[in-house]
Each structure stands twice: as structure tokens, then as C-alpha cells.
């Protein structure tokens, strides 16, 4: 009984294979101008590294503008307390002006 089922499945599978062989895959759409697209990809893969650098130029430019905008708008609050200024040690001129009243 089991063997018969195996036989039936073998026959069925062979029938599928035979039918599938009759239907060769349709490649006409992909085949058209295929060599042109392959050559384009090959040329692209051959491009030197600086070609990619040029493509990234707009990104770098945008980054420069962002940084410039940020640095213009950035204005740190000057500490008014002379002791804090003294402790930070970075605002010597401002401290001097504060103490001398200039």
C-alpha cells in the first residue's frame, strides 16, 4: 500500500517536471538591452574613490552651512559673578574690565 503511494507520487512528480520543462521561463523583458545595463554597472564599479567624494559634496556643503549657522547663533551667557569668572580662568579680560569698571 505504502509502495503504491510512493509510485504514484513519483509519477506525479515526474509529470510536474515534464510539464515545467515545457514552459521555459520568459526572459524577453530582462534580455532587452541587458548588456547596456551590465556595462553601466561595470563602469560604475570602476569609478575611483574621488568620484564618490564628489557625490558627497552636497552633504558636506549642507554640513558647513549648518555649522556656520550654529556658530553665528551661539552666544554663551557670560557669568556676571566675578568669582565664577575667576574660577573658570577663561574670562580674564572680562574680569579685568569688571574690576576696573571699564
Amino acid at each position: 500500500m505504502n509502495d503504491k503511494r510512493h509510485d504514484r507520487r513519483d509519477v506525479e512528480l515526474d509529470r510536474y517536471f515534464a510539464l515545467a520543462r515545457l514552459a521555459p521561463p520568459d526572459i524577453s523583458g530582462v534580455e532587452r538591452n541587458f548588456e547596456t545595463r551590465v556595462m553601466a554597472r561595470i563602469r560604475e564599479s570602476r569609478e575611483p574613490w574621488y568620484a564618490w567624494a564628489w557625490r558627497l559634496a552636497p552633504v558636506f556643503l549642507a554640513l558647513v552651512f549648518l555649522l556656520a549657522g550654529w556658530s553665528i547663533s551661539y552666544s554663551p551667557a557670560h557669568p556676571a559673578d566675578p568669582v565664577t569668572m575667576l574660577a573658570s580662568g577663561t574670562q580674564e579680560v572680562a574680569l579685568l574690565e569688571n574690576l576696573t569698571g571699564d
Binding site: 503511494r5 515545467a20 514552459a23 521561463p25 547596456t36 556595462m39 561595470i42
Partner: protein
């Protein structure tokens, strides 16, 4: 057509074109692609799920050919070497997508296959669809072997040459793939 199913036309010209392409002649390589694209795409189409994937497989094959052109020694026809690369590219693609295809519905497998001689059987297109779905459940090695063996009608020796595996490994894989396909197509009543 030769034993490996590749075009044997003008083999010496193929070798000339390879030499020119290595020397930097793009038009020579384009001519090689033009000559062999049909063979490559027909082979790859047995493994691709859609035209976009077929395009990718075809392009990947020729890119790999271009990269490895210097390793072509010319001892065998260019077509044989190209077929091996095609098979390896398709095998790599099968392994990559193994996980994606695990959940494919197999409801369509219930469709019975009538004897084609009666004229009442499913179309060849439907048979391909059913087989594609059943084969998507196979391991990549099994699917590769059964496709080359049953759908491309290649011999064990040819499959061994194309895959680089031993003939006994090919036979074992083909047997296992067939058993698994019978299980998938006939339902799970065997378990």
C-alpha cells in the same frame, strides 16, 4: 549545444573577446554579454522569483565574470566557465533568501496533476508555479541539484562539474530533494 548546455558557437572568438576585454576593451566585454546573456538568464530564471531578481542575478553573474576574467585560462570553452559562475551566483542567492521563503503558503499544492496526454491537466505554467513553491521549501543545495538535474535535464557528471561537488554528493542531494518534494506535493500524510 554542448554537454553543459552552453553555446559552443565560435569558441575561439570568445577567447579573443576575453583577451580584448582584459586589455580594457569594453566593447569586447559587451559583445560577450550580448552573446551569452540568453544562456545565463535562462539558467538564472529557474531560481529567480520575479524579473527584478532575474535582472539582479544576471548582472551579478556578469559582474563576477568581469572581476574574475583574468582567472579564465581558456582550457575549457568560455561558456562552461560562465555556466559555473552562474550556478554559484544562483546558489548564493538561494542561501540568502532561505529564511524569507519558509512561510510560503502551499495551498496551491492541492491542485491535482492530470495526465497531460488527456488535455485536462494543468498548464505547464501552473506546473512550474507548483514546483517553484514546493522547491522553495528545500535546502538551497537540494534545490540547486534538483533544478539542474530535473528541470535543466543535466547529467550527474554535469551537475558535479557545475557545482564543484562530488558525483556521490550530487546523487545523495538529488535523492533527498526528490523525497522532500514528494512529501510537499503529496501532502503530509506520509508522516
Amino acid at each position: 549545444m554542448c554537454a553543459l548546455g552552453v553555446s559552443m558557437a565560435e569558441p575561439s572568438e570568445d577567447a579573443d573577446l576575453v583577451r580584448s576585454a582584459i586589455a580594457g576593451d569594453d566593447e569586447a566585454f559587451a559583445e560577450l554579454v550580448r552573446r551569452h546573456k540568453g544562456t545565463v538568464l535562462r539558467s538564472a530564471a529557474r531560481f529567480a522569483r520575479n524579473p527584478a531578481e532575474l535582472e539582479d542575478l544576471g548582472q551579478e553573474t556578469f559582474l563576477r565574470v568581469y572581476r574574475d576574467l583574468r582567472s579564465f585560462r581558456g582550457e575549457a570553452p568560455f561558456g562552461h566557465w560562465l555556466s559555473r559562475i552562474t550556478v554559484h551566483v544562483c546558489y548564493d542567492a538561494l542561501r540568502k533568501r532561505r529564511r524569507e521563503e519558509k512561510d510560503v503558503s502551499l495551498e496551491v499544492l492541492a491542485t491535482p496533476v492530470a495526465d497531460s496526454s488527456t488535455g485536462n491537466g494543468p498548464s505547464a505554467q501552473l506546473a512550474r508555479m507548483i514546483l517553484d513553491q514546493a522547491m522553495s521549501r528545500l535546502k538551497p543545495e537540494d534545490r540547486l541539484v534538483i533544478t539542474l538535474f530535473e528541470l535543466e535535464d543535466r547529467s550527474v557528471r554535469e551537475v558535479a562539474e557545475l557545482t564543484g561537488w562530488s558525483e556521490s554528493r550530487v546523487k545523495v542531494r538529488a535523492f533527498r530533494a526528490r523525497q522532500a518534494l514528494k512529501r510537499h506535493i503529496g501532502g503530509d500524510d506520509e508522516r
